[in-house]
Amino acid sequence: MTTEAADSAEVAGTIAPAADPGFLQRHGGTIEYVLIPGAALAGALVVFGIFVAMFGKNPLDLYFYMYYGAFGTWFSWQNTLTRAAPLILTALCTALPAQLGMVIIGGEGALLIGALSATSAALALQGMPPLVVQIAMIIAGVIGGGLWIMLSGALRQYRGVNETISSLLLVYIALAILNHLVEGAMRDPASLNKPSTREIGAANMIGSIPGTDVHWGLVFGLIAAIAAYILIYHTVFGFAARVAGGNIRAAKIVGLGVSKLILTVCFLAGGAAGLAGMVEVAAVQGRTNANLAAGYGFTGILVAFLARQNPLAIIPVAILLGGISASGGLLQRRLGLPDASVLVLQGIIFVFVLASDALYGRIGFLKGKS
């Protein structure tokens, strides 16, 4: 796997300069951003293969079933894309604040609060036309999730509370609020074994993209990621955010409203994760219950780091990790691996990706001659 990555690097290193001697100087950075995470991913797969081999499974079978379960058939592609949708949105919850130098890891909490808000909106508007209900759900989900993460941002800005820890604590608080409401005030008396809210109604579900089983949440995710990319890299607001992320003192000296930046970015970040919650309710579950805490918020953190916090890069990375989790079921059935094996692989990938940070700017042939 690693050799394969090295080969493609060699191809880039030998052929390209012949055509254009300045190629590496100009594109070395971009190549690095693809090559290093790719090599990290390959290294993680190799280590996971060794890990699985220690339990007497054939690593080649593992790779085959992972590929087959993720991208092998149209069915698995649809499964992968369905899982990628919430991952894109929860990854934005980490990637947007990262532009400001903040590490937010509470996407799971914003997802749960977004789901609760969206469900409440739908239940309050029963009988209205579906389009009205759906738009209300989107707005409620975004505002609910947005305020949840904005709280972390406000605590950091006004009280100096570390946002990483506060956002993670808020995940557990969000889960408690969800369980409290689902087993109490919002409980559907008919849900006996699995306490849930009432259903939002089949008419209000957002349904699938025509011709597929992939729900519209994927489109929401793509739009959100592209909008986030434009916001960060092609607007004054995004530029100000990146300046503040690079040097907060410089940002203050040139008169940027840092508080406003932090609160707005955190709101948008939480809003994205809240939208993921809305999508899970309106396209998958049809109601709110503890099933929603499926870990999309935590996998989203990994997606954001693997994409190096770039909103556009989040899209392919989310599809890749959506594929890994989609293949989990097949690994369980065919190889008898426990369902936690996807978690182990994600953990190994995460460790490799972070360790690979040390490689940037150190690969000799990419440095060019200057």
């Binding site: 608080i173 978690l343 360790a355």
Partner: protein
């Protein structure tokens, strides 16, 4: 309720019992994290270490029949995870907070993977010492059944307090945490000091995990730890990196965590989940009260990335 004669006293008694029982994992993780953070590095991965510790302690106790070997195994597992954290962090330009998050996911995933066959069998538990022998009331006796690990943790807090102030190792750790340049000028390797501090921190956190699976709640399942590790990391911040304050804070947290089950036992069931979230709400509240945007926290190691 079995004994009606003590009525509502059940609640404070259960909270006291909880403070002793539930606080032990908080205590070990926070003392471990205290050592790591004093050396200038933060390890958010202790949540994963806690779960791995719980799993390996249960597994080894089941296989060997000796819960104490399980505790040792949990410590060693924790130290290895600590070494992994420190090893990756010693690479240039690697963010210790992010590595912590990664190891949190990795540790939990690995524990669930390896612990799959351990959910069914029953492993030998750690013994408890009965400090409630003088009382006839069963609730009092239950509250005062104390585990040896708790006593070790309580003893460890003042020992660490003393060690940080007076021993050579304590001074070295503090130097690395306050100014890595100074430590380097003295001819010490900051990375090595931090590696050792993170390994000791992981060792203690692993032992905290063994308490979860071998004493209270006393079994292995995937819902065993829900954020105790991360709460303990936050706890170190408002304990101002002082081992003695870590002890008091852990006790307060244990009490808060026992509030939900205690109220449930006297029939107050509404808001059960909210009371269960009490430790997290308490942590957040105390962080809001004690932090300030104007100044760095008193007692904060200057090299710590999370307070700068």
């Amino acid at each position: 309720m079995a004994d009606g004669s003590i009525g509502l006293w059940t609640v404070p008694l259960a909270v006291l019992g909880g403070a002793i029982r539930v606080s032990t994992p908080f205590l070990f993780v926070s003392l471990g994290e205290c050592i790591t953070e004093r050396s200038g590095r933060i390890n958010l991965g202790l949540e994963g270490t806690l779960v791995m510790g719980a799993m390996s302690a249960y597994g080894i106790s089941y296989l060997t029949g000796s819960p104490w070997l399980g505790v040792l195994a949990a410590g060693i597992t924790g130290a290895l995870l600590g070494a992994l954290h420190a090893g990756i962090c010693s690479l240039p330009r690697v963010n210790d907070v992010a590595v912590g998050i990664a190891l949190m996911l990795f540790g939990t995933g690995l524990a669930f993977y390896l612990g799959k066959p351990l959910i069914e069998p029953t492993a030998p538990r750690l013994p408890a010492i009965d400090f409630g022998w003088w009382s006839d009331i069963p609730q009092v006796r239950a509250a005062l059944r104390v585990n040896v690990l708790f006593l070790i943790g309580v003893a460890l807090a003042p020992i660490l307090y003393w060690a940080f102030r007076t021993t050579r190792w304590g001074l070295l750790i503090r130097t690395a945490g306050e100014s890595s340049d100074a430590a380097r000028a003295m001819g010490h390797s900051v990375l090595l000091i931090r590696l050792r501090a993170t390994m000791v921190g992981g060792f203690l956190a692993g032992i905290g995990g063994s308490f979860l699976s071998l004493f209270y709640p006393g079994s292995w399942n995937e819902g065993l730890s829900s954020g105790q590790g991360i709460t303990a990391v936050a706890l170190v911040i408002f304990a101002r990196w002082d081992p003695l304050l870590c002890l008091w804070a852990s006790l307060a947290f244990g009490g808060a965590a026992a509030l939900g089950p205690a109220l449930q036992s006297v029939g107050v069931t509404s808001g059960y989940h909210l009371f269960n979230a009490a430790p997290y709400i308490l942590t957040l509240a105390i962080m809001i009260i004690t932090c300030s945007p104007k100044r760095t926290l008193t007692g904060a190691p200057a090299e710590l990335s999370i307070t700068r």
